[in-house]
């Protein structure tokens, strides 16, 4: 985790290899295991580890790390990345939780319809979604026209080309990633727990605060982690919806690679991002494990 050579996505793979076979199934010989894993290992080696290895070697050329870390734009875009990702994650998880609860409380038919609505943005290209938001949020767009038409505002609000717009676009893209893990956590709750709580004297608010919410913490943290990691890699959205001050690290990598043709610098930036995210994820999981006595039990 702490080595630059170990990227984030390698963690689940190693975990799966090292894991014990599920209990209750007959233990297979080791060779069978390797055989079953072979396609994944080959795939990873060719398409993941090799390019990463190239990135690592490239990044060591021309004092790339020292150079990029001295670039004020790099530092700025790093900070932007974490600020925008944190805010987007927070908004996505909160809205995703509400959506998941609404879906969970409905009957089977409404569930299917609502899930389809949640999945709709999933099936739409990110560029399409971003431009749709740009149309909605521009000075003479739907939102501003409506606000002025209703007499709520006098002139157009600056809704586009700023951080707000970037976060709106990102949350829209990220919502399904939060709704599904949270819904899964809600669906796993035994219905009778709620009945029991109510029979024991709990009202709606108490049932939610004391039973539902604590039991969905694992789902919420899984959603948060997933959404945050995806957030840090956003590239198109800051370009389409953001202003000059909202560029994220992916834009900076693009700038180094294509405008400056400084591949060493671009590689160093990519690995720095991977490193920082890895450290944050590790810290996050440690905090969760320390706090989640329910899981430890």
């Amino acid at each position: 985790m702490t080595s630059t050579a170990t990227p984030v996505a390698a963690t689940p793979v190693t975990a799966a290899v090292g894991a014990d076979p599920p209990r209750g199934r007959p233990r297979r010989p080791r060779s069978a295991w390797l055989l079953l894993l072979a396609p994944v290992l080959v795939f990873d080696a060719v398409l993941f580890l090799t390019p990463i290895g190239r990135l690592v070697t490239q990044s060591t050329h021309d004092q790339a790390y020292q150079r990029v870390l001295k670039d004020p734009l790099v530092v700025r875009s790093m900070l932007n990345t974490f600020e925008i990702s944190a805010l987007s994650t927070l908004a996505t998880v909160v809205i995703g939780y509400l959506l998941a609860v609404v879906i969970w409380r409905r009957g089977p038919l409404m569930r299917v319809i609502l899930f389809a609505l949640v999945l709709l943005p999933f099936w739409t290209g990110v560029l399409v979604k971003n431009f749709a938001w740009a149309v909605l949020l521009q000075d003479n767009g739907l939102v501003n026209s409506a606000l002025q038409g209703l007499g709520i505002t006098d002139g157009p609000l600056a809704l586009l080309h700023n951080r707000f717009a970037v976060i709106v676009g990102m949350v829209h893209y990220l919502l399904p990633y939060a709704v599904f893990p949270i819904f899964a956590a809600l669906a796993a709750i035994d219905d009778r727990l709620e009945l029991a709580a109510r029979s024991l004297g709990a009202g709606e608010a108490s049932v939610f605060r004391r039973i539902i919410l604590p039991l969905t913490v694992p789902g919420v943290s899984a959603a948060g982690l997933l959404v945050f990691i995806i957030s840090t890699g956003f590239f198109i959205t800051p370009v389409v919806l953001g202003g000059p001050g909202d560029m994220m690290i992916a834009n900076e990598i693009d700038f180094y690679a294509r405008q400056l043709t400084d591949f060493a610098g671009a590689s160093a930036l990519a690995l720095l991002l991977t490193l920082v995210v890895s450290v944050l994820v590790a810290a996050y999981q440690r905090i969760l494990r320390a706090g989640g006595e329910y899981e430890a039990g």
């Binding site: 029979s199 004297g201 009202g203 329910y294």
Partner: protein, 378 residues
């Protein structure tokens, strides 16, 4: 979150005192109906659980027993009729204000709380202070034999222990009555019997009324003061366990509550609780009669109520042939053919006369009180 209702829980008799103490702990259902579309899950049910009484709703799945319990608890709305607890109508009260201790089949313990926190939960909801809460939870856990195990999580406990936690949690706030929904179904046989004894002992000691739901006739027999047999949303028979067992009104009840031999018969005469019946090849006999009316009748004789008799005895006797005898340990089960009818009889292994083998000619007899005239359901 504090409960908005200031229900006094530390003094259990206070709320009932206003309504008259004699109905404290009673549950009454009056003409209760629950329909789903055209289907009546519960149909005009009248039922009273008297204070301190242990009443069991016994029936197969789909008989409406769980729906009935859910309506008492407030989880299901009534289509019509009314439910009274402590003599007061509760139809407009949400479950949290009904003050009933409910134990579910799966126990429904909160997995993210310790046993003690689970038991404290209803007290917390009633705004009981932390110190008092802890003390009462400890007492409740001790009462169900779990002293010192309050720190465990439900998943660290055995099925029997979890069941006890659920019981402690349902009792700790001194509810008006206990509702138990198949609470033993997940336990193995030995543990189930032990828990049946313990629950029964606890219920007697606390003098609390219990509405118990089960499909297990042994459980119903061993625990109840009164059994209410349900089928298709209706009560088909109710009474003390021994009475319902010994004197079923219909063949369905007789079969549902244990094994029986049903002998179709013609009623010749009915008078003063005794019927004279023509049993065909079994001859004419005298049996008990509860006065149930129907189109076709049969006589029910439990296997253990048949015994081998000497051929000379005249009344209530039939002669047949042994088909097989199987030892079940404590009892022996004989299959006999009497006339065209195969019947089963059971006798204790101890005191059995040896040497009765297949194809032996035997005479079996029964006493008038042990044979029951009943209506054959169409």
């Amino acid at each position: 979150m504090k409960s908005p209702t200031p229900t006094p829980t530390t003094t259990p008799s206070t709320p009932a005192a206003a309504a008259g103490d004699e109905r404290r702990g009673s549950i009454e259902l009056r003409r209760v109906r629950k329909t789903y579309g055209n289907l009546a899950a519960v149909d005009d049910l009248d039922l009273t659980v008297r204070p301190g009484e242990f009443v069991t709703l016994l029936g197969p799945s789909g008989s409406g027993k769980t729906t009935t319990m859910m309506m008492v608890a407030g989880f299901e709305e009534l289509t019509s009729g009314t439910v009274l607890i402590d003599g007061k109508p509760v139809d407009r009260l949400p479950p949290k204000d009904r003050n009933l201790g409910v134990v579910f089949q799966s126990y429904a313990l909160f997995p993210h709380m310790s046993a003690a926190q689970n038991v404290e939960f209803p007290l917390r909801m009633r705004g009981v202070r932390a110190g008092e809460r802890r003390k009462r939870a400890e007492e409740a856990l001790a009462r169900v034999g779990l002293a010192g195990l309050g720190d465990r999580r439900p998943r660290q406990m055995s099925g029997g222990q979890q069941q006890r936690v659920a019981l402690a949690r349902a009792l700790v706030f001194n509810p008006a009555a206990l509702l138990l929904d198949e609470p033993m179904a997940a336990l193995d046989k030995r543990l189930r019997e032990q828990m049946q004894d313990e629950v029964k002992t606890l219920q007697r000691a606390l003098g609390i009324s219990v509405l118990f739901v089960t499909h297990d006739q042994d459980e119903a027999m061993s625990m109840s003061d009164r059994i209410v047999v349900m089928r298709d949303g209706r009560i088909v028979q109710e009474g003390a366990p021994e009475d319902v067992y010994a004197h079923p009104r219909t063949d369905w009840v007789a079969n549902f509550l244990g094994d029986t031999n049903l002998l179709p018969c013609k009623v010749l005469e009915r008078k003063d609780g005794v019927a004279v019946v023509d049993l065909g090849s079994w001859g004419v006999g005298r049996v008990r009669d509860l006065g149930a009316r129907g189109d076709t009748y049969a006589v029910s004789i439990r296997p253990e109520h048949l015994r081998f008799v000497d051929a000379e005895r005249t009344e209530n006797r039939a002669t047949g042939r042994v088909l097989s005898s199987t030892s079940l340990g404590a009892t022996i089960r004989h299959r006999l053919r009497v006339g065209e009818k195969d019947i089963v009889m059971r006798e204790l292994s101890a005191g059995t006369r040896a040497g009765r083998g297949p194809d032996d000619e035997v005479s079996v007899g029964w006493t008038q009180d042990e044979a029951q005239l009943l209506v054959l359901e169409p």
